[in-house]
C-alpha cells in the first residue's frame, strides 16, 4: 500500500515534468495546422503548411544537410572528447589537470559570437575555404568540451582496482581500454554524443560566421527568416522532424533493448570477480 502510493506520487511528478518539457513543442505542432498566419488564434485546420515544405526544395536540402552535419560532427567530437577525457584522467598532477579542464571549458563559457568571429578569423588566416568543412570543424570543436564533461565523471567513479587487476592479469593497454574502461564509460559517451548532437542542431551564431559558398544549416535559415515572422511552414517542418526523431529514438531503443541487461550482468560478474 505504502509503496504503491509512493509510486503514484513519483509517476505524477514525472508526468508533470514531461508535460512541461513537451508543452511548447505540442503548442508548435498544434499551430502548424493553423490556416491563419500566427501562433495565437487558431482559425481552421489545414495541411497547407506541410504541402509548402514539399515544394520548398531549398528547405528540404538544408534540413538533410543539417542532420548530416549533426550526426557526423557529434560522432567525431565524441571520439576526440573521449580520448581527451582518458588523457585527462591519466594526468596525475592535479594542478595540470585543473588547468586542462579549465582550458576545456573555455569554449563552453565563451558566447557564440566570440567563438564564431574568432573561428572566422582563424579559418581565413589558415586559408580554409568557408563552407561545409569549416562548419564541420567548428561544430566538432565546440562539442568536444561537453563530451569531456560527460565522460570524465564516469572515469572518476571507476574503481581503479579494475585496471590494476586487469594489468596484473597481463592485459595490455588496448585490452584494458576495450574490456574494462569502455564498457564503464559507455553511458557517458552516449550522453556526450546526444549533447554534442543537440549543440550542433541548435547552434546559430558560430555556424553563421564560419559558413559560406551556399552551405547553410536549419538554424541559420530559421533565424534569418524570423525577420519576417516565423512562418508556420517552419512549425510544420519542426513537427515532422520531431516525429522523425521520436521514431528514431524508439527504434534505436527497441533494437538495442536486449544489450543493457547483458551489460549489467557482465558488470556484476566483473565486480564479483574483483571482490
Amino acid at each position: 500500500m505504502n509503496t504503491k502510493k509512493r509510486h503514484y506520487w513519483r509517476n505524477l511528478y514525472l508526468i508533470v515534468a514531461f508535460l512541461i518539457l513537451y508543452l511548447p513543442i505540442f503548442y508548435l505542432i498544434f499551430y502548424s495546422f493553423n490556416s491563419s498566419g500566427g501562433m495565437n488564434h487558431f482559425a481552421h485546420f489545414t495541411w497547407a503548411h506541410y504541402q509548402e515544405i514539399w515544394s520548398d526544395q531549398r528547405l528540404i536540402l538544408i534540413t538533410v544537410q543539417t542532420f548530416f552535419l549533426a550526426f557526423l560532427s557529434s560522432l567525431l567530437a565524441t571520439i576526440i572528447g573521449t580520448s581527451g577525457a582518458l588523457g585527462i584522467y591519466s594526468v596525475r598532477n592535479p594542478q595540470v589537470r585543473t588547468l586542462i579542464l579549465g582550458l576545456n571549458n573555455i569554449l563552453l563559457v565563451s558566447p557564440d559570437v566570440i567563438i564564431g568571429s574568432s573561428f572566422l578569423i582563424f579559418f581565413t588566416v589558415l586559408g580554409i575555404k568557408l563552407g561545409f568543412i569549416s562548419v564541420l570543424l567548428s561544430h566538432i570543436a565546440f562539442s568536444i568540451p561537453i563530451v569531456v564533461l560527460m565522460v570524465l565523471p564516469k572515469l572518476q567513479e571507476m574503481n581503479s582496482s579494475f585496471i590494476n587487476v586487469a594489468q596484473d592479469l597481463g592485459a595490455n593497454h588496448w585490452q584494458i581500454l576495450k574490456g574494462v574502461i569502455l564498457p564503464i564509460i559507455t553511458p557517458g559517451m552516449i550522453a556526450g554524443y546526444f549533447m554534442a548532437f543537440t549543440y550542433s542542431l541548435d547552434d546559430f551564431a558560430v555556424t553563421f560566421f564560419v559558413t559560406g559558398n551556399g552551405f547553410e544549416t536549419l538554424s541559420v535559415e530559421i533565424y534569418s527568416r524570423a525577420r519576417q515572422g516565423i512562418s508556420l511552414e517552419i512549425n510544420a517542418l519542426s513537427a515532422l522532424m520531431f516525429l522523425f526523431s521520436l521514431v528514431l529514438v524508439m527504434g534505436y531503443y527497441f533494437i538495442s533493448k536486449d544489450s543493457p541487461k547483458g551489460k549489467r550482468k557482465d558488470r556484476k560478474a566483473q565486480q564479483n570477480l574483483i571482490r
Binding site: 538533410v64 563552407g131 559560406g212 535559415e221 533565424y223 534569418s224 525577420r227
Partner: protein, 356 residues
C-alpha cells in the same frame, strides 16, 4: 562494447544515407563552377523564391543563396573575406561604411538596363552619391504602431506623445540605439544624425523619463507581440508594421511629422565577387518592372521601382503605410554612417537607458 559498436556503425550508416540524399538533392538545385554560379547574400525570406528559379532559367546561371540576420554580421563576414558573394543587400549606413572601407566594386551604369525605372527620389542619396556602388532594392520608414482598441488616433501624432503618462508600461521599442536615440532627438527638433555631445546627453536625459512607459525592448518579435495584443503601442519599421496589420485589424501605423528615419536596402557587388557578369545579370533582372513587382508583392515591402509600383494591386499602391506622401518623405532622414567613436557614444547611452 557491443552497444558502442552498434551505435557507431548505426551513425556511420545514417551519415552515409544523409550524404547521398543531400548529394542527390544538390545535383538538381545549386552549386557548380564559379563562372556559372551567382552567390547571393541576402536577408532571410527577402526574395520570392520563384524569382530565383526564373532567373536561373532565363540566364542559365545557378544561384547559391545565403542569408544573414543583421547588417553588422554580414559586414563582418564580407570584410573578413573567405567567401565570394557576387551580390549582397545591406542597408544604407552599412553601404556607406562598406564604401569607406573599400569593400564594394563600383557599378558600371552603362551595363545596366532599366535604371530609369527607379524613382529618382531614391537615387543619388547621401550614403551613395550618384549610386556609384548600390541600387535600391526595397525601402521603408520608422514610425509608431498603435492599437485602436486602447489608443485613439488623436493621441499619437508626435514622438512626444510616447511620453504621455497615460501610456505607463505600454510601449514596445525596437532594440536599436540609432532608432531610439534618433526618435528622441527628432522629438527635440534635432537631426537623427546629431553627434553633438550636449544634444546626445540631453536626449539621454529625456529618454530616461520614457523608462516607465517602456514595456519591452525587442527586435523582430515585436510583430508577434503586437499581433497578439500584448501592448497598445510600438515603435518599429513600416515593413514590420505591414506584417502586423495583416494579422491584426486594430493596428495602425503613423510617421510623426516632425521627422523620422527612412531606410534603404540596396543591392551591391562586394569587392570579393568572382562572377561579375552574373552579378550584373542579377541587377538587370531585378530592375525589370515585372520582376520587381512580383518581388514586392511577395515580400510586401515598398519597391523603389516606379514602373513596378504601377503593376501592383491598387490597394497596395495606395497604401500610405508603405508609400507615404512626398510631403512626409521630405521630412525623413537617412541614417549617416557614424564614426566608431560617435557610434559608441550612441550605444553606451542606449545601454544605460536599457539598464535604467
Amino acid at each position: 562494447m557491443k552497444k558502442i559498436n552498434i551505435m557507431f556503425f548505426g551513425i556511420i550508416l545514417i551519415c552515409l544515407t544523409l550524404f547521398i540524399i543531400s548529394f542527390e538533392l544538390e545535383k538538381d538545385s545549386s552549386s557548380g563552377e564559379s563562372d556559372k554560379t551567382v552567390n547571393i547574400f541576402n536577408w532571410g525570406d527577402y526574395i520570392d523564391p520563384k524569382l530565383i528559379t526564373k532567373f536561373e532559367k532565363q540566364t542559365g546561371y545557378k544561384v547559391s543563396y545565403e542569408t544573414f540576420d543583421s547588417n553588422e554580421a554580414m559586414y563582418t563576414k564580407i570584410k573578413q573575406g573567405g567567401t565570394a558573394y557576387d551580390i549582397a543587400i545591406p542597408s544604407d549606413y552599412t553601404i556607406k561604411k562598406m564604401i569607406d572601407n573599400h569593400l564594394l566594386l563600383p557599378i558600371d551604369h552603362s551595363k545596366l538596363k532599366g535604371l530609369g525605372n527607379i524613382d529618382s527620389k531614391f537615387l543619388n542619396l547621401p550614403f551613395d552619391p550618384g549610386n556609384k556602388y548600390s541600387l535600391p532594392y526595397f525601402w521603408g520608414t520608422l514610425g509608431i504602431i498603435y492599437n485602436d482598441k486602447y489608443v485613439k488616433a488623436s493621441e499619437v501624432k508626435h514622438w512626444d506623445d510616447l511620453w504621455n503618462p497615460r501610456f505607463k508600461n505600454s510601449i514596445m521599442l525596437i532594440d536599436g540605439a540609432r532608432e531610439v536615440m534618433g526618435l528622441t532627438l527628432n522629438s527635440q527638433g534635432k537631426s537623427v544624425n546629431d553627434t553633438n555631445v550636449k544634444d546626445l546627453q540631453a536626449a539621454y536625459e529625456k529618454l530616461k523619463k520614457l523608462s516607465p512607459n517602456v514595456k519591452a525592448i525587442l527586435a523582430d518579435e515585436i510583430k508577434v507581440y503586437m499581433a497578439q495584443d500584448e501592448a497598445p503601442l510600438a515603435v518599429s519599421y513600416s515593413g514590420e508594421a505591414m506584417e502586423m496589420m495583416d494579422n491584426n485589424k486594430h493596428l495602425h501605423y503613423i510617421i510623426p511629422e516632425e521627422g523620422s528615419n527612412i531606410w534603404f536596402d540596396n543591392m551591391v557587388i562586394p569587392r570579393t565577387a568572382k562572377n561579375i557578369k552574373g552579378a550584373y545579370a542579377f541587377l538587370n533582372f531585378m530592375l525589370e518592372p515585372k520582376n520587381a513587382a512580383q518581388n514586392a508583392e511577395y515580400v510586401a515591402y515598398a519597391t523603389p521601382n516606379k514602373a513596378a509600383k504601377k503593376m501592383l494591386p491598387k490597394s497596395m499602391q495606395d497604401d500610405k503605410v508603405m508609400y507615404p506622401t512626398n510631403k512626409t518623405i521630405s521630412h525623413l532622414e537617412v541614417y549617416d554612417a557614424l564614426s566608431q567613436k560617435n557610434l559608441s557614444k550612441y550605444n553606451d547611452l542606449f545601454l544605460q537607458f536599457k539598464m535604467h
